[in-house]
């Protein structure tokens, strides 16, 4: 089995588990899986920005929040969720392009600093502009959508909606990285100077990757609002952006399966490691440090190393 086949098998296995996992689970387990799916979408987005275009974004939580607020405000005002969802994605794409463009023109690696500032600013606006966002009181009673008259209000039905979104977004990313764009990303990451000399615009491609990555966070956020049914500004802080960054790098940047694993580590593993009680975060942090020292390409990189070793062994 070659690497390509292995990747496909891994994706298929994840999908199969994701479809079957909630059966027989109670509400809480299903809720966690839904959260996993949405985090994975946002992580996939950041993976495009970071893993393929080589840009660090520290505003993924801000876009997640913008998406959540657009969806929450629009649906509580009576708009259909199916309209609010693409609207949230589009808005985040445009905002991403607007803040990314000046930053990327100035200096290649300054996007990280600008997005860091942006994330905190978004939090402050969400909290302070009460007339628009409800301020600290937040937005309550966010309705869950229906599809062709079929209510997706139940936990299981809503989970499958999140999963469907995840599959859709993953297919989109799959297509992008296999298209000529993906080749341009690879060239840019490998050697930006040479890529530019061949006509590849660094600004255009990194901006696109960043804007698409931001849009993915917006779409995930748009589904997050009806999942929790009440939102306020507190989840959308810089620490969630750092958590997304950790998900992508720990899972394995620049791979399609990495973000799934990274998101699972953050949402599902704490449950599994409940016996460690208060030590979970410490164990996680320690493991991340060791992983970065041993294998900076993340867990998928570690699997790859293991796989190659097996193949080489007689």
């Amino acid at each position: 089995m070659n690497a390509q086949g292995f990747k496909r098998l891994a994706l298929a296995a994840i999908l199969a588990v994701a479809i079957l996992a909630p059966l027989g689970l109670k509400n809480y387990g299903v809720y966690l899986l839904s959260l996993w799916a949405l985090y994975a979408i946002a992580a996939q987005g950041l993976n495009l920005t970071l893993g393929y275009a080589g840009q660090i974004s520290l505003a993924q939580a801000a876009f997640f929040g913008i998406g959540a607020y657009i969806s929450a405000l629009a649906t509580t005002a009576g708009m259909s969720f199916w309209l609010a969802l693409p609207l949230a994605g589009l808005a985040c794409f445009i905002i991403g392009a607007l803040i990314g463009f000046p930053a990327l023109r100035v200096q290649h690696h300054y996007l990280a600093f600008v997005t860091l500032g942006f994330n905190v600013l978004v939090f402050l606006v969400l909290r302070n502009e009460e007339w628009l966002t409800g301020g600290t009181y937040g937005v309550a009673n966010i309705p869950r959508p229906a599809l062709f008259g079929l209510s997706l209000g139940g936990p299981l039905a809503f989970y499958y909606l999140c999963l469907a979104l995840l599959v859709l977004m993953t297919a989109m990313f799959w297509h992008i990285v296999r298209s000529p764009w993906g080749r341009a990303f690879a060239a840019l990451r490998d050697n930006p100077e040479r890529a530019a000399s061949l006509g590849i615009s660094i600004v255009t491609y990194t901006l696109l990757a960043f804007a698409i990555g931001s849009a993915a966070a917006g779409i995930a956020g748009a589904a997050f609002a009806p999942l929790v049914e009440y939102i306020d500004p507190t989840p959308f802080t810089l620490s969630l952006s750092l958590a997304f960054l950790l998900m992508v790098v720990v899972g394995g940047q620049g791979t399609l399966t990495g973000p799934f694993i990274g998101a699972a580590l953050v949402t599902l593993l704490p449950e599994w490691l409940r016996w460690t009680e208060g030590y979970y975060l410490m164990v996680y942090a320690l493991a991340v440090m060791v992983l970065m020292v041993v294998c900076p390409s993340g867990l998928t990189g570690l699997f790859d190393m293991a796989r190659r070793r097996w193949e080489r062994s007689p």
């Binding site: 079957l20 809480y28 600290t136």
Partner: protein, 393 residues
């Protein structure tokens, strides 16, 4: 090659199994008929760790007391604590998980933003929900299952405003508040009540959760020339503010609502807290024998003085006991109905410590106290009677 192939299959299935197992670990055992389950979802870490720990310990103490005396209707209470980490997102996950265990009632949390997330979930499940939060908006959504254990801000702020007008004779007030659901709600209600009594708001100063540096706030308060500084912050931020006020030699009266004079703030701010006055709904220093006795036993058990959140937790469990025994059965819908528009006196149930009344929204009415900090201790200087204007009953 064959070997490596089977290894890969093994690794894949192990990975898949692991994912399934992770999710499946959320499955839990059912409770048995000799016991009754209470869920306590509370702040055990994060910004609310101090208040949540007080509440949890007092809940444990109440459960022990009640079980020692035969339980509720002959069934022993089992209480399970869940940590919301003081974050609404975690809180939502935790309450969803807790409700899978089919509890009789849910207790906590204290942070208003977490409560607002949780109460949506308990309402859908039809589980009575007794919280320690004070944000005014909580009882204004028509949720029939939500109940407080202390004054909401719409009850406490009028009392405070009266106090500032009549006792302190303040003409203008500088309001320093923490900008979250708790602080904003308090600030909005306080400003409304103060203005209604002709007291000017000389400065309206918003601060952040976890804020460490309060020097600019103090300068701004001084600059405003207000007669009184009203601080409405969480415990640690309150202490930092008091320390900075002392550092800059602030000489006007400092007034607070419940938190500012709580034990934790006094421990942290030390002599910077001296002279602070305030209104508190509940205090372990109240000159009421039942509360004194509770405080003594709490300190004996946990090695520290309880704050008002401890009293709230203790009372919550006893409210559940009294109402259930009045009904004579475990009925969640009936419980919610029975607790609206009712009064529990200390003769009926000594564990409520003070007579307590509920209105139709789940808001609480009760006598309250005026306090002052002297030599690092909270001293009760007066008692304010019940408002006695229960809404909608």
């Amino acid at each position: 090659m064959q070997v490596s192939h089977s290894l890969k299959v093994w690794a894949l299935s192990a990975g898949a199994g692991a994912l399934g197992l992770m999710a499946a670990s959320a499955v839990v055992p059912a409770q048995n008929a000799k016991t009754v389950l209470m869920i306590n979802a509370i702040e055990l870490s994060g910004g609310g760790a101090t208040v949540g720990t007080n509440w949890r310990d007092a809940v444990d103490m109440a459960v022990k007391d009640i079980n020692g005396a035969g339980g509720i209707l002959g069934r022993k209470i089992i209480v399970k604590h869940f940590d919301t980490q003081s974050k609404p997102g975690i809180s939502k996950a935790v309450i969803t998980k807790a409700l899978d265990e089919k509890p009789y009632v849910v207790l906590g949390p204290i942070y208003s933003s977490s409560t607002k997330v949780n109460m949506v979930v308990t309402r859908r499940a039809g589980v009575p929900h007794i919280v320690g939060s004070e944000a005014a908006s909580i009882t204004q959504t028509g949720n029939p299952f939500i109940f407080r254990t202390s004054f909401g801000q719409s009850a406490s702020m009028p009392k405070l405003a009266n106090y500032l007008k009549d006792e302190v004779k303040a003409k203008s007030v500088a309001v320093v508040w923490v900008n979250n659901a708790f602080g904003k709600g308090g600030r909005d209600n306080a400003v409304k009540e103060l203005k209604a009594r002709g007291i000017a708001i000389a400065a309206d100063i918003s601060t952040e959760v976890q804020q460490a540096d309060f020097s600019a706030e103090v300068v701004k308060a001084k600059q405003s020339g207000a007669d009184v500084l009203f601080a409405y912050l969480h415990e640690e931020e309150s202490a930092r503010l008091l320390i900075e006020l002392k550092k800059q030699g602030y000489d006007k009266q400092i007034v607070g609502e419940t938190t500012l004079t709580s034990q934790k703030v006094l421990d942290l701010a030390k002599d910077a807290a001296n002279g602070v006055k305030g209104h508190v709904g509940l205090t372990a220093d109240a000159n009421i024998p039942a509360i004194r006795e509770f405080a003594r036993r709490f300190e004996a058990a946990y090695g520290r003085k309880p704050d008002h959140n401890g009293i709230k937790g203790y009372v919550a469990v006893h409210v559940v006991k009294e109402i259930t025994e009045r009904m004579g059965k475990f009925d969640q819908k009936g419980f919610a109905d029975a607790l609206h528009c009712t009064t529990i006196t200390t003769e009926q149930e000594p564990g409520v410590l003070m007579d307590i009344s509920y209105d139709k929204n789940g808001d609480v009415d009760r006598a309250s106290f005026l306090v002052e900090v002297r030599d690092g201790k909270q001293v009760v200087t007066g008692v304010l009677p019940k408002l006695g204007n229960a809404v909608g009953c």
